[in-house]
């Protein structure tokens, strides 16, 4: 029976830690791309939160920016109110977004399919509208700025070149990615995929399906809130755009581009998207959005399971027998 027990493989965690270490060493070499790469980290974290929702639990959302925005505004409020310690600020903001997710879960989970999409869309739009009207609180269209977080761990000040911001964002992304990886392989993650594949059968195993999905929704909202707070703390500003429909749509595009259901999809998608956007907007300042659209369409047509899916297909025939049970 020992053949059923999975052995611990250190290859992947070691490789992932090596990539993280290399990225962390980047400021020693060049500081040119740190602001851009911080954006990648924020978007990757945000996309990872959507992967938890869409790729694992099978809940659709076109309003995920709601939680990103809640996290961003919460972090800004805290700093403006004098709570300037960044790590606790980040955690509190994530917690607030998670609670908001828990509160909205019953509304979203009541529906399914297109109706569910509509509910998430409407919740997102309502929140955006509320933030736009509540000028006294949110600054309306001007957003919030002029706040400053104290040094990370009391040691590293947020600097002009963005070295601290970059490393801070990288660390938060790394920790969240590790947590996501654990959760995905654990009973909870497996149960979520079971619910996505066959909710009736999960209920027949005794799973309280609604409660599990609500937990997943709250967790995803909290992670999106962390991403929003991370953006607020590293850029020292929050724009109303953080809550916009465009941002909700963008994160869904990034997830599809990277690959739904894959562990690396969110990371790859965010990197490709931000870097392609930067490159194309420099190349063609007028038409870059059109080129970006063409690029996305090309990827989706060539790789319906995203870039991560494409890479796995290239790699899989070789290693199929070994990794099948881990895929």
């Amino acid at each position: 029976m020992s053949d059923l027990h999975s052995s611990i493989s250190w290859r992947r965690p070691v490789a992932e830690a090596a990539v993280l270490a290399a990225l962390a060493a980047l400021p020693l070499v060049s500081q040119d791309y740190l602001l851009l790469l911080t954006q990648v980290a924020v978007l990757a974290l945000f996309t990872l939160s959507l992967e938890l929702l869409v790729g694992q639990a099978g809940i659709l959302s076109l309003g995920h920016a709601a939680f990103f925005g809640i996290g961003a505004y919460a972090a800004a409020f805290l700093a403006l109110a004098g709570w300037e310690e960044p790590i606790s600020g980040l955690l509190i903001a994530g917690g607030i977004a998670g609670l908001a997710g828990l509160a909205m879960a019953p509304l979203v989970l009541r529906a399914s399919g297109l109706t569910q999409l509509m509910v998430t869309l409407c919740l997102g739009l309502m929140l955006h509208e509320a933030a736009s009207r509540g000028r006294d609180w949110t600054g309306g269209d001007d957003g919030l700025s002029g706040f400053l977080n104290s040094p990370v761990l009391g040691l590293f000040e947020f600097d002009l070149f963005g070295v601290t911001g970059y490393l801070y964002a990288l660390a938060v992304l790394g920790i969240c990615f590790a947590a996501f990886t654990l959760m995905r392989a654990a009973p909870f993650g497996t149960a979520l995929r079971g619910i996505r594949q066959n909710p009736v059968r999960m209920a027949a195993l005794g799973t309280p399906v609604g409660a599990r999905l609500a937990q997943a929704y709250a967790l995803s909202a909290a992670m999106a809130g962390l991403a929003g707070a991370l953006m607020a703390e590293t850029t020292q500003s929050v724009a109303l755009e953080a809550l916009s429909f465009q941002r909700s749509a963008e994160v869904l595009i990034v997830l599809i581009l990277g690959g739904v259901g894959s562990r690396y999809g969110a990371l790859i998608g965010a990197a490709v998207y931000v870097l392609a956007r930067d490159w194309l907007s420099a190349l063609s300042p007028e038409y870059w959005l059109g080129w970006l659209g063409l690029l996305m369409m090309a990827v989706v047509l060539v790789a319906p399971r995203g870039i991560a899916g494409l890479l796995a297909r290239v790699r899989l025939p070789r290693a199929r027998a070994k990794t099948e049970d881990r895929a």
Binding site: H5, A186, A204, T207
Partner: protein, 260 residues
């Protein structure tokens, strides 16, 4: 056995349940008692109310009147998944599995759920050693150990039907409702399934919902015949087979009968 249940309580007791959909009285005052270890078949022509009755037992439907008791506890108002956690487990007539998962992971999931661990987030499911051992035993006992790690969508249909049973077993049922367990299996693939059914734990109360008379004769010690939402006849397979009302309402229309 706790909170008021007595030892001599039925594993499952359905008392006079009825449900109506609009003008249709789908189930009309049906009662059924299963002691521990029962091997009971529920038969009846199409439209007799069998599926509705199973829905009432398992909790996907609420009766307009009547009660459902599980080990002496009233579960009439208890939902589907909560009844599963109380030991009332069903399999599905149309195979209902996790297509992308292996049989091993599916059974592990069922065990994790039974043990109240399905919300744990830190340790990989495959590293709950005791669960893996138990899943291995279950899969060995039903003859799926050789394909335990293959996605279930790759398995032959007969094997998928056995995965259905394995999932139900992993929940450690006290009452097991098997909805046409052999439905759609090619003749050559059914042997294994029959062996598995014969090897089910003796103390489990088993309710077969069946069309296949061969299976009823082979496994059932008691039969309830439903027709038009009511109990038409009850008793041993031989007794029911000899009942003229049954022959009239059911067998007359179907040709091939209970007579071997």
């Amino acid at each position: 056995m706790s909170d008021g249940a007595r030892l001599n309580d039925y594993a499952l007791s359905v008392e006079d349940v009825s449900i109506r959909f609009g003008a249709l009285q789908a189930v009309d005052g049906v009662s059924l008692q299963l002691p521990a270890g029962a091997r009971h078949a529920l038969i009846g022509p199409n439209g007799a109310g069998k599926s509705t009755f199973v829905g009432l037992i398992t909790g996907t439907l609420r009766p307009d009147s009547g009660r459902v008791l599980l080990g002496g506890h009233d579960v009439t108002r208890t939902g589907f998944s909560a009844r599963v956690r109380r030991g009332l487990v069903r399999s599905f007539q149309v195979t209902s599995l996790f297509a992308e998962m292996s049989a091993l992971d599916s059974v592990l999931l069922a065990i994790a759920e039974r043990e109240g661990r399905s919300a744990r987030m830190l340790r990989p499911l495959g590293r709950y050693g005791a669960f893996v051992d138990e899943a291995g035993e279950i899969l060995r006992s039903v003859g799926l150990i050789g394909v335990a790690k293959r996605p279930v969508s790759d398995l032959a249909y007969g094997q998928q039907r056995v995965v259905e049973i394995a999932l139900a077993l992993a929940a450690r049922p006290r009452v097991l409702v098997l909805d046409e367990p052999a439905a759609g299996i090619p003749a050559g693939e059914s042997t294994r399934l029959f062996e598995v059914l014969e090897g089910l734990p003796a103390e489990v109360a088993l309710l077969f919902v069946e069309h296949d008379m061969h299976l009823v004769r082979r496994f059932a010690r008691a039969v309830t015949v439903l027709a038009g939402g009511k109990v038409l006849a009850e008793g041993t397979p031989a007794h029911v087979a000899a009942d003229p009302a049954v022959q009239d309402a059911y067998l007359g229309r179907r040709g091939a009968g209970l007579h071997a």
